[in-house]
């Protein structure tokens, strides 16, 4: 593969964007520590796994479906290829693995060059597709905002949500559900926040905004440690559109976290809905949305299931060895983009749920102190030798002469002194029990073979060839056409208030319908 100057320029720009944003994201959180999980050790192990495996796995996925096609699918459901998975983790986990190996002297910035160019290009194409409706590459690119959804979906979330106020039964149940499920999500994800995602904000009127919150990978699915303990969780992914009053969400970042002015409290919530979705669903399917009372009961029941699963899982984890904890954490981080393979219908347990043996050899280094300190050095003061730049430089946010991720030297275009790739997939190992062949989906509990088969054969209506190019720019000028009507009706088929209402409604019409 002959690399061009333009390719390297773009790749270095994408690397630099991740450098800048990673520093900002980490600055406001500090290095994550836990008394339960060896977090830094598993994070570093996962970075090595990502460096060695992502190139081959992404190429395998693209043999079935392109990055941009998967981005189109993901935009219409709440599964784990949003943020932080795709906006930050895919490129940064990979680049962190690369940077560790550079600073250890095990590779040079120009090694695995075709892999680096490919991974960053995959990321770019996916992100541009996922952000198609807001026209950005990342939330950072949009000033920390993510307006991913099309009008037709926002209208349904807006129309069908039930109003609530602090202290009423629905408000209490919704808040209890979100707290319990957030807690459960952190535990499922071994102390990481990757089971949670927020997008938006979307403006409902001059006083109200809506954010869309996703809780992902909750049921028996890909993670071996959820076998049994999550058997009662009836949905793998749940989405809560949430309206708030008196609060502006000024930051929705590429970790899927939000910040608001004034600070968000439960009392600000004035409306909620509940949906599920996955690779096999026609977009978002309502859950318990038939009436306010049904939704209240559904939130309450799901909160209890989340608490029960939390207690069972916590007891299981408390009995784990350090190696098992590290495996689970490293696999959680590494496999954060695994749903790319589910959408493409080529998911294999051995690809995503094992520790690559090239990464596994580093385990003896990963004591708590080295892991905490080296992670702090690579993310905070940027003090690895390879991260330092000439003294005239001021890096973004930190104002120090440093760069988190090494750029590719352009000299390779002249002297050709680089290596192309880390090579093919290698075997993996794990201290954890083997995953049982049981996957909770919107189409029931399936074997993996059946899950992959259905994924390969299924195309959601809004993503088929008749509809996928009918974008928001087209809709603006063609809302009165049969094609627009068909597109909106397809999305509205499960809506309580908007079924068959078509493409002509504006936001004020939705508000009037809610009041009828």
């Amino acid at each position: 593969m002959k690399l061009s100057y333009a390719q390297l320029l773009e790749t270095n720009n994408l690397i630099q964007q991740n450098t800048d944003e990673t520093y900002w994201l980490c600055l406001t959180r500090t290095v994550q520590e836990s008394k339960l999980f060896p977090v830094s050790p598993y994070m570093i192990l996962s970075y090595f796994m990502c460096f060695y495996r992502y190139p081959a796995l992404l190429r395998k996925i693209e043999q079935h479906m392109s990055a941009e096609d998967i981005g189109d699918r993901a935009r219409n459901m709440g599964i784990k290829i949003q943020n932080p998975s795709m906006g930050w983790c895919l490129p940064s986990f990979y680049l962190l693995g690369r940077e560790y190996l550079i600073t250890m002297g095990l590779i040079r910035p120009q090694d695995a060059l075709e892999d680096v160019v490919y991974v960053m290009d995959f990321w770019k194409r996916y992100e541009l597709a996922w952000h198609r409706n807001d026209g950005h590459l990342t939330n950072r690119d949009f000033g920390h905002r993510a307006q991913v959804l099309p009008e037709r979906r926002l209208q349904i979330f807006h129309a069908d949500m039930y109003d609530c106020v602090e202290g009423d039964a629905l408000h209490t149940a919704a808040q209890a559900f979100m707290a319990a499920t957030s807690q459960y999500g952190f535990l499922v994800s071994c102390e990481s926040r990757i089971a949670l995602h927020n997008q938006g904000p979307y403006k409902l009127d001059d006083e109200r905004e809506m954010i869309v919150r996703d809780f992902m990978d909750l049921a028996e699915g890909d993670y071996p440690w959820l076998d049994g303990v999550a058997a009662e969780m009836p949905y793998n992914n749940l989405t809560v559109p949430m309206a708030v009053k008196g609060v502006h969400f000024n930051i929705i970042d590429d970790w899927g976290s939000f910040e608001s002015q004034p600070e968000f409290k439960a009392e600000h919530i004035v409306g909620v809905g509940l949906y599920t979705s996955d690779t096999l669903s026609e977009g978002y399917l309502p859950v318990g949305m038939g009436s306010r009372e049904e939704l209240t009961r559904t939130f309450e029941a799901l909160a209890e299931k989340a608490k029960d699963a939390t207690n069972k899982l916590w007891k299981r984890i408390a009995g784990w060895s350090r190696d098992q904890m590290i495996d689970a954490g490293a696999i959680t981080y590494f496999s954060i983009v695994k749903d790319l393979a589910h959408v493409a219908g080529c998911y294999e347990m051995e690809d995503w749920m094992l520790i690559d043996e090239r990464a596994e050899r580093f385990r003896p280094l990963l004591n708590d102190e080295y892991s905490n300190m080296s992670l702090w050095e690579i993310l905070g003061p940027l003090s690895n030798p390879c991260q330092r730049t000439n003294e005239y430089q001021l890096c973004q946010h930190a104002n120090i002469p440093a760069r988190m991720y090494s750029l590719i030297p352009y000299s390779v275009l002249k002297d050709g002194d680089y290596t192309a790739t880390v090579g093919d997939l290698q075997p993996g190992v794990s201290y954890l029990p083997r995953k049982e062949d049981r996957y909770r989906t919107t189409q029931g509990v399936l074997s993996l073979a059946e899950y992959n088969r259905q994924a390969r054969e299924f195309t959601p209506t809004v993503c088929d060839d008749d509809h996928r190019w009918l974008c928001e720019s087209w809709l603006k000028y063609h809302h009165d056409t049969p094609a627009a009507e068909a597109l909106y009706r397809a999305e509205q088929q499960h809506s309580r208030l908007l079924k068959d209402k078509g493409a002509g409604l504006r936001r004020a019409d939705i508000e009037r319908l809610r009041g009828d």
Binding site: T30, L36, N367
Partner: protein
Amino acid sequence: MPRLYGDTDKFGEQNNTPVVEAFHGAIRAMVRQKLAASGQTWQDFVFGKAVTGITADDFRAIDQRLLDYGHRYLWSALVSQQERPEAYTAAQGVGEDLSTFSFEHPEAPTAAADAEGRELRGCGDNVVRYNEDLIGTARYVRSSATVLNYLQNGVPPGTIAVIDDSGGTLTAPILEQFTGVICAGGTVRSHLGILTREYGIPCFMNSKISGIREGDTVRLECTATAKTADAYQKGIEMTGRIWRVAQ
């Protein structure tokens, strides 16, 4: 001995921390040695014998060398210390008897009791601003054994958990039962900050405290302004106070 690419780094300096510098220096020396022994060019070596010929045993030897020098690692996950006590510093304040234990942060602001009997013992970053300060009983939660005990017997009412863990998993099954939280690490955007906000539990992150013992009555200034991302980015101090109050 061959030189590595990084050996001619114009701007690179040593790592900040001794353990990282020791490990990375030893790894680079080992890579030079393996490259020389292979007789290969770098291009052939890097994803060939640098992968198959550098094994877990090589990294284990680097770890052992530092221990042989007398270094003992600082632990953060209790399981690390428990499984390999010979490699880590001793664990303090995680047993059953916490009567004499207290966090002692040098940066903690302290002052004698005021007219209302409030003795300043520290401060922290307020996650959410509430209308009233919070008064409760300080109880340290630092180990799975403590969590399991509370899970089986219930968390005593009015407990303000004192935690050094900014994560949300150690206390996952019992967090909802806390009246308040004083966390010695993290920021308001850390996992514990997110969860306490969801549960509506007053919480101070990044707390610096001194002299607060198990069972002390403490007061959190939850009416203080919540710390913002902007304040972290600009290094602006924005804290609420933590008092010990007469019972």
